[in-house]
Structure formats: C-alpha cells, structure tokens
C-alpha cells in the first residue's frame, strides 16, 4: 500500500488514520514506518548491549583475582572479542543512527517518513541477522572469533584463527556494514530532500545536523571496512595474500584499512550523541542553544579531521607519518572543545531543571571530558609509545564510549521515551540508575588508568600476585558490578512503566523542535499539521508566541500574499 503525502503547512486536512494495516507479528515484519523500524533498532541494540554487558561482567570477574581460572584463556579471548564487536558494531552505532536517527529525523524536519522506507526496513533486517550471525559463533565447535574486535592480520588468517567462528564474525560485520551504508544513504537523502517548507539547513535541530554529518562519515568509512572484510575472507578461503607477507601482501594494510574505517567510526558513534545532548541542554535550561552555527561548523570540522587521523592507532607499527597524524589528532580537540564550551554556555544563566535527561547529559560532559583529555595525551607519540596496548588505552576509550553511548544515550532515551511510547518513565528510578552507573563507571575505569601506567597490558586473562595489579583490579570489578546493578534498575524502570503506565503528554518538557508538536506517540506519517517554521525552535515559537524567535505571519497577512 502506498500513500501520497501533502506538503507542510497546507496539510491540515490530512485524514487521521489513512488505512488499516496488518496487525500482530506480520505488522512488525512488514512495516516500513520509520518509527516502528527506529524502535526495533533501539530495542534490539539495547538487548545486544545487555548481552555484551554480561560478557563484560565475565571478563571483570576473571580479572578480579590473580591467577584466576574462572574462564579458560581461549574463552576469555572470545569474550573480549565479541564484547567489543557487539558494543561497537551492534550497539553504539545502530542505537544512534538506526534507532534515534530513524525515529527522530523525519519528525524533526517535518517529513512523513524516511526517503527510502523499503531500504530502511531492509537495513534493519540486515542488522538483526548480522547480530545473530555474530552470536552464532559461540555455538560452533571452534568457538567465536578470538582476535579482538579489530581483527588484526595475521592473527585473523586461516592458519592462526581456523574455524567457522572468525568467518561468522566477518559475515556478521559485512551484513551490519551494508545495513549501516543503507542507513547512511537514507539519512543524507532524507535531510536533503524531505525537509518541511521553511526548514532551511540552518534551522535544522542540532541533532539532525549531527546525523547528517554522521551519514556522510558512514558513507566514507563503512565501504572501506566492507572491502577490507571481503579481502580478509578471500585471504582465508581463496588463497589470496592481501594481508600476508608470504605472497607479497602487507599485514599493516589491514590496519590501515581497518582504522580508516575505525577512526571515523569513533565519531560516527560520538556525533549522534553530541547531537542528543545539544537538544537536551537548551530544553532543560529554558534557553535557545548557545552558538548554533559554531556547533554546526565544529561538527563539520570534527568529521573532516577524523578522516585524516586513522593512523594514530598505529603509531607503534613504525610505518606511519607520526607528525602528520599527531598534529591532526591534537587538532580535533579544538572543535570538540568548542562543543563542550557551547554546552556549558547553553546552561550558563539558564533556569536549570535537573530532570533525569538533564542529569544524564551533565554526567556525559564529565565522563566524556575525562576520556577526551586522556585522548589528547595519547595523540602525542611519546606518551602513546609508553602506554600503547595497556589498560591506559582501555580506560581512555571506555570513558569516551561509555560517556557518549551510555550517558548521552540514556539522556536521549529518557528524553524521548515519552514520545516513543506515550508513557512516562519513573523519574526516581532513572536518577537512581544514573548515580549507580556514574559511580560504578568511574570506579571501574579510573583504576584502569593507574593499572595502565603500571604496565598492565590489554587482553591478558591472567596476571600474577607479584605484578601488584590485584587491588586496582578488584576496585575496577566492584565498579563494574555496581554499573550492572544500575542496568537492573533500568530494566525495572522499563517494566514498571510498561505494566502500570502513566500517560505522557505530547510535550512533557516544553520542547523546542518539531517532534514535540505532534502527538505522543506520533500518528502514522507523523503530523496532522506541521507548525510554521520560522526559527530553529518552531514548537517553542508556537507555544510561546510572546517569546518567539521567529515571527509567524498572521492569517490576514498570509491571505494578502496569496492574492498578490
């Protein structure tokens, strides 16, 4: 069934329910509604996050005591490989650009759906089956892939990692990679071609801007990874020697290709979450965003620079141009600093309201800044040579990634939860979860910086009593358990909200952007009537005409113009 959509402000006569679609499971399987697909993405990725989180608990339990035999060393390698792969490929990215972006972009720009709804549905199914493929590795005789989420050659060759597990890993990431590329195409096209009348590029919400830039980054980065994976598969099965020295290939080529994907990927993961907090700070500070254009250009600068820094992951290979990559990596701190400055500037002098989304968003600034600053350390080759492949690096990227995907991610999740479901979450439980996760998170990763400086290498399953790593590792494990309990609180929150629902109003936070101008949850094809867009805050203008940013012409004026 296909449906013609009328444009923008003139569309107040749209029928309420256009059609009676299929129901039950068939509806779920066949829907091309971006809201259904977005929610599917979000819930699927949260399930993957909880599975990968359980793996993290097993890893931390193994490391809680010296000479531990809680899991075997092979199992340990599989666990950290699949933990990393799931968190990065199946949770962090899809949660943002599959879940939030899919759900929110059409709403924020006043569009009825994504530009390619069928492609959108296909990308969800590729993502889901890709995720299942990765987990299937645990059910094979040789176990799951065990070469780390980066799959470095020659460890990932058929001699060093035989069996079906590594192949499943390759296929899984290829499927998820295609899903990502399709989503990237969809995002860019939707934002370029389906904006409502009056929604100029510089009136788009910051989240939409960040997703546009993320879409472009996906288009630069993901095809490189998919190509690299196909060559790896060919090396393993068809006897090519792209990544082996024996046949004239180069193992470092894999690192180059992987990180050419991998570093933009870090920003593909981070930018959407920057966008989310950029939506949350103004709403809970009762101010417009401070430095709108500065934020947009900082985002573009981050995207450009992030593509030129891939080899800072490879300083110790000795084959890269250190000053070039070091300089560009250090430069990224400038636009990132601009962003942190504008967020603080947004809060400055505002009427702050520390509801759960705001609390999580402030937690994000703290966590991300710590991770970001240690990133600046690591961009300097002398420091990187000393700390490469130690727990210092582990702590650094976990602080960056949890800071963005968990703190900003949950800020966004609680912020838009009323819009997604039409129900409210429980404020107290959300705050309890915040404090448990925040304290647990710092307790987990701050000791790891010290462990790294003491020389504890990454990816080891066992250390001895004479290494003096025990106390700090115990602290770290205790922190990890506290974080895990925090997520149990989250599940309780979701359960309570589901079983004894409190109905959410359409605009519970007095929001600024267009998604708050429709019902909670929105009707199929989103808007009965799109409010006039004359500033960056159309919904605010509509609800507070006395404080509006942009002037909306009166009916009489409009009628006069039509006559002209």
């Amino acid at each position: 069934m296909t449906l013609l959509e009328q444009k923008g402000e003139a569309s107040s006569h749209l029928p309420v329910e256009h059609h009676q679609g299929p129901t039950g499971y068939y509806r779920w399987l066949s829907s091309t509604d971006h809201k259904v697909i977005g929610k599917n993405y979000m819930y699927t990725s949260l399930v993957f996050m909880l599975i990968a989180g359980l793996m993290a608990m097993l890893i931390r339990t193994q490391l809680a005591s010296p000479n531990s035999t809680f899991v075997s060393q092979q199992t340990y390698n599989e666990l950290f490989t699949i933990h990393g792969s799931m968190m990065l490929y199946l949770f962090a990215g899809p949660f943002a650009f599959g879940g939030f972006a899919n759900y929110l972009i059409p709403l924020q720009i006043g569009a009825p759906d994504m530009a390619f709804p069928r492609l959108n549905a296909l990308s969800y199914w590729l993502y889901l089956t890709g995720g299942i493929t990765m987990l299937l590795g645990f059910f094979t005789a040789s176990g799951a892939a065990a070469f780390g989420w980066v799959g470095y050659a020659p460890l990932s060759s058929s001699t060093n990692s035989p069996g079906a597990g590594p192949d499943l890993w390759i296929v899984s990431i290829a499927l998820v990679g295609f899903s990502g590329i399709f989503t990237g195409v969809n995002l860019v096209t939707t934002i370029f071609y389906l904006r409502a009348p009056g929604m100029t590029m510089f009136r788009m919400p910051i989240f939409t801007w960040n997703m546009l830039v993320t879409g472009l980054l996906i288009l630069i980065a993901f095809p490189v990874l998919t190509a690299a994976l196909i060559m790896l598969y060919a090396d393993r099965h068809f006897g090519t020697h792209v990544y082996s020295v024996k046949g004239g290939g180069s193992p470092v080529l894999w690192q180059n290709l992987f990180w050419f994907f991998g570093h933009p990927e870090v920003y593909i993961l981070a930018l959407p979450f920057f966008g989310m907090v950029s939506e949350i700070f103004p709403v809970f500070s009762k101010k417009p965003i401070f430095g709108y254009k500065g934020l947009v250009f900082a985002t573009l600068a981050i995207a450009g620079l992030s593509t030129g820094v891939w080899a800072h992951h490879m300083f110790t290979t000795g084959t890269v141009l250190l000053p070039f990559f070091s300089a560009l990596s250090l430069l990224i701190a400038v636009p990132t600093g601009i962003k942190i400055f504008t967020w603080i500037g947004t809060m400055w002098g505002g009427q702050l309201d520390f509801k759960a989304p705001m609390t999580w968003a402030v937690g994000f600034i703290v966590a991300f800044t710590m991770g970001g600053i240690t990133g600046v350390f690591l961009a300097s080759p002398p420091i990187d040579f000393a700390t490469h492949d130690t727990y210092f690096v582990v702590a650094h990227f976990h602080q960056v990634l949890l800071g963005t995907t968990i703190f900003a991610g949950f800020a966004g999740f609680f912020f838009w939860y009323p819009k997604l479901t039409g129900r409210m979450y429980r404020e107290k439980l959300a705050k309890l979860q915040f404090w448990m996760v925040f304290i647990g998170f710092n307790l987990t990763f701050l000791p790891q910086y010290l462990l790294g400086l003491r020389g504890m290498p990454r990816r080891i399953a066992v250390y001895s009593t004479t290494d003096h790593f025990t106390f700090l590792n115990r602290l770290s494990t205790a922190g990890a358990y506290l974080t895990a309990i925090g997520f149990v609180v989250f599940l309780i929150n979701m359960w309570v909200s589901w079983r004894s629902p409190i109905k959410a109003p359409d605009n519970p936070w007095d929001g600024h952007s267009l998604e708050w101008a429709t019902t909670s949850p929105p009707p199929s094809h989103n808007f009965h009537r799109v409010p006039p867009i004359r500033s960056t805050r159309p919904t605010w203008d509509m609800n507070h005409p006395e404080h509006a940013d942009g002037r909306v012409r009166t009916e009489a004026e409009l009628a006069g113009e039509v006559l002209e």
Binding site: T2, H18, R118, W125, F178
Partner: protein, 130 residues
C-alpha cells in the same frame, strides 16, 4: 539546494587539501588513495547538486519565509507496509551463512533476494504515482 551543494563541495575541497599534504609529506599510497576517494565522494555529488541548483528555483525548504502557495504540493509516495524487505534480508542472511558453512542455502538465499528485488521494484512502480 545551494547550501547542500556547498556542503559537499566544501568536504571535497577539504579532503583534496589533506590528500595533497599527506601525499607530498609521506608518499604513502594506501592512505592517499583512500583520502582521494573521500575527496571524490565530496566533489562528485557536490558538482551534481550544484548543476541542479543552477537549474531550479529555491525549494520551499530553502527559503526563510515561504508562502502558503509555495508550500503546497505533494511530498512523495510512501509505502506503508511491504513484506519484501524482510524477504530480502532473510535471503542476505542465508547467503551470509552459506559463505561460512558452504551449503546449498546459497541457492535459496539468492532465490529470496532476486524475487524480493523484482517484487519490490514492481510494487514501487505500481504505487509510485508521484
């Protein structure tokens, strides 16, 4: 449309600059190729959008204060329900598993993908009265 054109072109020029610096400084071919491809990824669509921007009036979403008349019209045709993306996804899944287990599921997978591709094309042709 003009700004979209400038955005792509700006990215392309930025990468062109980076690839020039990188190539002359390091002489490394792998990374230079990738950066060159990124530059083209900006320049080619940027040029295309510019070509269109010259030929068309600003769309209602490009103007600050569009009138009602400008804003009227049809956005596009959007499907509401279709099973074919699911069929195609399952086909891709089977092909993926066949890559690992080397089995006859490859045939079924291709059958799924091809039939879904045909059906989805026919379906969008039928419904696409834009």
């Amino acid at each position: 449309m003009k700004f979209e054109h400038k955005l792509y072109l700006g990215l392309g020029v930025f990468f062109a600059l980076i690839v020039a610096i990188y190539w002359f400084w390091s002489g490394e071919s792998g990374g230079s190729t990738l950066l060159l491809a990124s530059a083209l990824l900006g320049l080619v669509p940027g040029a295309y959008l510019g070509w269109w921007a010259m030929r068309m009036k600003p769309r209602p979403e490009d103007v600050e204060d569009p009138t009602r008349e400008e804003s009227a019209g049809i956005v596009g045709a959007f499907p509401t329900y279709t099973i074919w993306p699911f069929v195609m996804g399952m086909g891709a899944f089977m092909i993926g598993l066949a890559m690992v287990f080397g089995s006859w599921t490859l045939v079924i997978g291709f059958a799924f993908v091809i039939s879904a591709a045909i059906s989805v094309t026919l379906e969008s042709k039928r419904g696409g009265a834009v």
